[in-house]
Symmetry: C2
């Protein structure tokens, strides 16, 4: 039961399987998805038993094989008309592909194939289950935001917008509340914003564009006939993007964030591994990547992904990019806020969440802050090891605000 | 990623967390329950991180603390009217208590307190969620069978009877298909039969009484006004008890077993650890318990429980008790059978399942045998690491037989 090794900042307290901290965080995340219809615990451990601790290639191979297995099972189930079972296999295939992507280089053909398989599997899972969700490429300047949106928008009372972070594809947003919201009768919008998913291939990167794109996406839903209330639910980096949206655009009826973020540049500086901080800015990027590659191939794979997501200048410019986005002006936040905070997350993030909550509370007394201790199982970053508990809190809170659709059950 | 140590026969192929095989099987089982609303993966690992490999007392302490935590959370949620969340905490408390019971001596006060907490938590979970299930002590001679039964029996079209095995309390039967059947509109019966749950305290033990009691329980449901079709779903030892019921009483419209068992005496002889087999029958029990206690406290705790369940003569008499029950007369089985088989289970069990399936098939061509390989995550004993996949198969099969209630969704 040894402690885990260095990860990308503090993200969880528990030890699952690997000594490598990044891999171990992914294990907990995958087990969390197993509560929501992803790969079962048995199937996850079937893969893990084939992985060498700290070796990203063995991880990608194992989950790639799981993807092929689940795809074949889904085809067999569809062939016999067993649609419910087919849907579950498609969803398991989605998470198998997603898991493999954790430690791929996103610029490789392998990653492109995995994303394609993930998207097809997810869309087949929705279709075979009859979920009212459709693909949608939302125009954004001369580019587009890959998204999923509810098919029934015109009569919907409340739109639940899931805003992801630095590690999300739009399919993840279904697990982070999108599916739970649909099941409760909400309309949903699940979009890759600049920097997320494969958008860097279009030249879209994290920064001001990410916040602007969120506004474009929400206006596009309204243009499709949606005229109801608006709920934003931001996870990880989405805690900043949703905060900036509330500050700059308003018109939000309820805002949920795990965690709400005021100053991402500072969070980034505080939360990234000491390894990053100790290098002079000049040779920063190169030093980081070569050091990581030599000592920790998993950290290396993760950093190469983040590097790509930040565009020219890469991860070395991350702090600069977030300085451009700027701090959130707390005085301009006037929306009921539910702040979800895991006690095993990095201290700076917890501090900022509390600061925002305390700033909003006097103006919006229905605001709440929920802290999840280790025993709750929801103490990790984004509550990834017990998302249903986060959902209990957030959908209960929305119901209390009168925002739950008529057909919703608490 | 070392292999696990000796367990009570072959029950799984994957390695989860502990070297101790029995503990590791329980880990997988708990993670399986986390797919169905039990303790979340995060909460399970919060406990596991406090457990010393092979030390039953540290296991009982950790899950006892989880029970207290979930009970307190449930009370808080109820106090604020958050019933959905309260229900989830009550169900998590149920599995925390259940986990602690895995390695308690069932004769201790501690076990009695845990069972009491488990029952209260489960009943509160059902009540706060509004599930139509009620407690029922079914009279059995001058004793009773602790059970749960659907509140709406008179108009129900199909009764789904979950038959447990050597490691089940009636609360487990909710996880083993009872809850999934209720959600699909079936009426359900979840009863502790002689030898199961706390029935040994009443002097009820595994043997012919177990099969007789199943018949008494089903007649009692009919006496309450149920007039529909009958489905039996047996797990582990329930694969024998349900088989004997089909043989001796008939009137079953569909029979599911994971796995169907023909000859439990032989299975017992083959599947129990070599440790048991090598001891001469005379000093068998004493030798086993003292050896186990010295070398493997977890195995010791497990064996003491089984010892108690078999009554006078204890586990040393198990083979004899099953010889009295006798082999199942395959020629008398005339009910559509769905046999569920994990490929990582003991060979003798897989052999018997196939024999029964092949015997029934010519008379009942809608019968089916589904084998779950390791990659499916459902390859362990009773599919404990992916029960939803087993449910997809079994409820789809029942629908194909025309036995699904009108409101059921596949």
């Amino acid at each position: 039961m040894s402690k885990t090794e260095q990860d990308l900042g503090a993200r969880q307290a528990h030890h699952y399987y690997f000594k490598n901290g990044t891999m171990d965080f992914y294990v907990g995340w995958l087990l969390g998805y197993s509560q929501l219809g992803g790969l079962s615990p048995g199937a996850v451990y079937h893969c893990l038993n084939q992985v060498k601790d700290g070796d990203p290639r063995s991880w990608v191979r194992a989950f790639g094989a799981a993807l092929a297995f689940e795809q074949a099972q889904a085809r067999d189930a569809e062939a016999t008309g067993a649609l419910a079972r087919a849907s579950h296999h498609h969803l398991a295939a989605t998470t198998a592909a997603r898991a493999a992507l954790d430690l791929c280089d996103p610029r490789d053909d392998e990653a492109a194939r995995l994303v394609d398989a993930m998207e097809r599997s997810f869309q087949a899972a929705m279709a075979t289950a009859g979920h009212p969700l459709e693909r949608w490429d939302i125009p954004f300047h001369d580019k587009h935001l890959p998204a999923y949106v509810s098919t029934r928008l015109a009569g919907a009372t409340t739109l639940f917008v899931v805003v992801g972070g630095g590690d999300t594809y739009r399919e993840d947003l279904w697990f982070f509340g999108g599916g739970a919201a649909l099941a409760r009768g909400y309309a949903v919008l699940l979009a890759d914003l600049p920097g997320q998913g494969l958008t860097p291939h279009q030249g879209l990167h994290f920064g001001n564009a990410t916040v602007e794109a969120l506004a474009v996406a929400i206006r596009a839903v309204r243009a499709r006939g949606f005229a109801g209330k608006l709920v934003l639910c931001g996870w990880s980096g989405g805690g900043l993007f949703s905060a900036k949206y509330v500050e700059l655009f308003g018109g939000v009826d309820a805002w949920i964030a795990s965690t709400p973020i005021e100053d991402m540049a500072r969070l980034f500086e505080e939360a990234m591994p000491a390894l990053l901080r100790r290098n002079p800015a000049g040779s920063f990027q190169q030093a980081v990547l070569s050091l990581a590659g030599r000592f920790n191939p998993v950290l290396d794979a993760s950093l190469r992904k983040y590097d790509w997501q930040f565009g020219p200048g890469g991860i070395a410019n991350a702090v600069e990019r977030f300085r451009e986005v700027g701090k959130v002006d707390l005085d301009r936040l006037d929306t009921p806020l539910l702040a979800l905070v895991g006690t095993s997350e990095a201290a700076e993030g917890r501090r900022q969440a509390r600061r925002i909550y305390e700033a909003v509370l006097p103006r919006q007394p229905r605001s709440a802050l929920v802290e999840f201790p280790p025993a709750s199982g929801a103490d990790a970053h984004c509550q990834v090891n017990n998302l249903p508990l986060a959902f209990d809190h957030l959908f209960g809170w929305l119901e209390g605000l009168g925002l739950a659709p008529a057909r919703a059950r608490a």
